[in-house]
């Protein structure tokens, strides 16, 4: 439980940085989505049989949604989709759990 809270807080902080800090540093005119990169990186390294990544994905996604013009839930759904995709690749092709 503590671990979930810590990881969720970490991802929430990254979401805030993504919206209010990283826009100052575009790479070739594009601001890379560090949150998505971190999230995928975290999923690749983390045990995929744990559902620990659900909560951080939803919370940090909702933070990004607060800055977005899209419907609320767009970023959580996108992050959860990335999560399932990474899990599928890990289990089917890399045989990692």
């Amino acid at each position: 439980m503590k671990q979930i809270l810590f990881i969720s807080l970490l991802f929430t902080l990254i979401a805030f940085l993504q919206a209010s800090f990283f826009p100052h540093f575009p790479v070739f005119g594009v601001v890379p989505n560090i949150l998505v990169l971190f999230f995928v990186f975290f999923l690749v390294l983390y045990r995929s049989d744990s559902v620990m990544w659900f909560f951080p994905a939803v919370v940090s996604g909702l933070v990004l949604d607060m800055y977005s013009s899209a419907f609320i839930g767009f970023w959580p759904v996108l992050l959860l989709s990335f999560g399932f995709l990474v899990q599928m690749v890990k289990e089917r092709y890399a045989f990692i759990r």
Binding site: H24, F25, P26, F54, S68, I72, P76
Partner: protein, 248 residues
């Protein structure tokens, strides 16, 4: 009867779906409340970012020290902006209010700004920098927060002109801070470095606000109109405050 494992499996998506559905019934107040709570933190992060942007040689400085510098610079910048705003209000024929930038949408060219008071901002109000450079227009309002659709957003388009040649055209946002001047008559002469400003034709923005300079001309014989890519004026990432024009 459903087994407990099936129940658990479906419980999370169902709760998430209901949660998101509930949020989408009141998106404005929810976003407004969020920015109301986190505005000081968002403002601080944005200030630290603008200081970082301006002082790249000092990258290795302690973050706490930077935050302190950012606070001081924030006050100084606010002072300077208000002075410029005061001077601008004496010389310009429009009225405006100063708003601080809180953040940027990760997926599009949209900024979140904080207004000094509730209920001032209205959808469609033009937003400029203190140097009279056009930034965009208000696209969404909630309490004392507003979203600014930048002129580089793909949904943004407005009439513009080149004062040197009197050529008129339509500036379209291309996303990622890129602008395209389109629908320019073929007989109009476009040159690199020409300044593009807003025109009063569309009525969306006041006349003669700076937009950008021509950096690349596309005048293909197969196309009925000439086009040009623009280099936007100013640097929005280094700005901490924007001016919302309330009347023009």
């Amino acid at each position: 009867m459903l087994s407990s494992s099936v129940k658990k499996r479906f419980l999370f998506p169902v709760i998430l779906f209901l949660f998101i559905l509930f949020f989408n019934f009141f998106p404005g107040p929810i976003r407004g409340f969020f920015h109301f709570v986190f505005a000081p933190f968002e403002s601080l992060l944005w200030s630290v970012g603008s200081v970082e942007k301006k002082n790249n040689p000092f990258e290795s400085e302690n973050l706490m020290l930077k935050a302190e510098i950012a606070k001081l610079q924030d006050a100084k910048k606010e002072n300077e902006t208000l002075r410029i705003a005061l001077a601008l209000s004496k010389t310009s024929d429009f009225t405006f209010i100063v708003a601080s930038i809180l953040g940027k949408d990760a997926g599009s060219d949209t900024l979140v700004i904080r207004m000094p008071e509730q209920g001032i901002a209205k959808i469609g109000m033009p937003v400029i920098t203190s140097d009279k450079v056009l930034a965009g227009k208000v696209s969404e309002v909630s309490d004392s927060f507003a979203k600014v659709l930048l002129i580089s957003h793909p949904e943004s388009s407005f009439d513009a002109k080149i004062p040197e040649t009197n050529a008129v055209g339509l500036v379209r946002g291309q996303g990622r801070y890129r602008l395209l001047l389109d629908l320019v008559q073929k007989d109009e002469k476009l040159s690199l470095g020409n300044t593009v400003v807003t025109s009063s034709l569309g009525g969306t923005f006041p006349e003669n606000l700076l937009v950008g300079t021509i950096k690349e001309i596309k005048d293909l014989p197969t196309q009925p109109f000439a086009q040009a890519f623009l280099e936007p004026f100013g640097n929005l990432q280094a700005e901490e405050f924007l001016l919302v024009i309330t009347e023009f």
